[in-house]
Amino acid sequence: MLKTLWLCSLLSLSLFAYSDVDMDGVEDSVDQCPNTSLTELVDINGCTIKDLSSPHHYDIILGASYSQISPVTQEKTDTMAGSVQVDYYYKNFSVQVSTAFFNSESSLVSNSGQTDSFIGAYYLLKPLSGLSLRLGGGALLPTYQSDINNNNTDFTASLSASYLYKDFNLFGSYSYTMINDDDFSYTDTTSATVNVTYQNTNAFNLGAGFYPTAKLYTSLSYNSSDSIYEAFVSSTTGRSTVEPLESISAYLFYTLDKNWFTTANYAYGLSDSASDHYLSLRVGYYF
């Protein structure tokens, strides 16, 4: 009798202990690729041998953003923008096209129009389980009509890394942008000539994220980017520079269903050059 009970307990324990999170038929304890999707056929180790899903995917994202900046030397400026973004994904490769329309208001100046438009391509690498690297390159097309008519195409290259362990995610990215806008000079109210020079920018961010549920992702990050202005050199007061744009941001991604998703991002400026507040809401359709 005792032997039977002992065997039954062992059997039930082994049944409850069985776990196959990605449902590929390979138990988690021996699954060497624990996150394969249902569309992937796997080998005895649980690693992909063939992907049955269509390699072509698209998404269309509409967004609205608000940002406010109040540098110590100037009036507070509020900027509202509406954006549209289209992505095409083919296996590990993706292409993005986006643009936005803005309206900027301060007590002295009102300005509206189209922002620079972005076209870029990314390549996803997965050197290790849970680790994703994205290499990107793109161009910021000069669709923004600058007051000083000096806008040119800028080029950008980026590398981002993301490490996912269970429901936790650590990420970081670096980007380098070649600012090709023409330098210019102007005469200020004291009749001094001020030369304004642009510089290429380095930007990076570091953050940590978490999936509280299967549909929700949330993260916090620190972001820093060089100013696009290298220096303002006045013939009377000398050279002044602009500090980097630093902010901390909170991000939410919510999957509404298998096609629809929504994101929210809030950033708080840490430096005078950064927007004091930046809020962005987006809705996307992925197919």
């Binding site: 056929l41 967004g63 100037q74 993005q96 210019f184």
Partner: protein
């Protein structure tokens, strides 16, 4: 005319009967497959699971959704990792950060232009006595 009506009715009845039968066979087949997967050895389980996935890929969206739901309930999956969704999330997060950077740089550019307009002498169409220095 009557013969045509009878023929059409018969065809419709047969069609719906076949549909119901096919549905029952499908459900039974999935149920049987899942039981076989659960009972199989480690090696055979992978093979059967792969066959099941291939069958899923041939189903329409509705059938696939039902089959996956049934599989989830039968196989007592503790968690759905949604690896594709997670990948998409990471991609979106990166894009969002880049877009924020572009927008902040645009606002910085506005500020620079506003500064120039505030401080400069406003005689030209472009907001002052600008001298292109390139």
């Amino acid at each position: 005319m009557k013969t045509v009506k009878v023929a059409v009715t018969t065809l419709l009845l047969l069609g719906s009967l076949i549909g119901v039968q096919a549905d029952t066979i499908n459900t039974t087949s999935i149920d049987t497959q899942l039981k076989a997967i659960q009972a199989a050895s480690a090696h055979d389980r992978v093979k059967l699971m792969n066959e099941f996935k291939q069958q899923l890929s041939r189903m329409n969206a509705q059938e696939r959704s039902e089959a996956i739901d049934e599989m989830r309930s039968q196989m007592q999956a503790h968690q759905d990792t949604h690896s594709e969704m997670q990948e998409h999330t990471q991609h979106e997060q990166m894009q969002q950060a880049e877009q924020m950077q572009h927008m902040q740089q645009l606002q910085e550019q506005h500020t620079g232009e506003q500064f120039m307009n505030d401080m400069g002498s406003h005689t030209g169409e472009n907001g002052g006595n600008l001298h292109q220095s390139f």
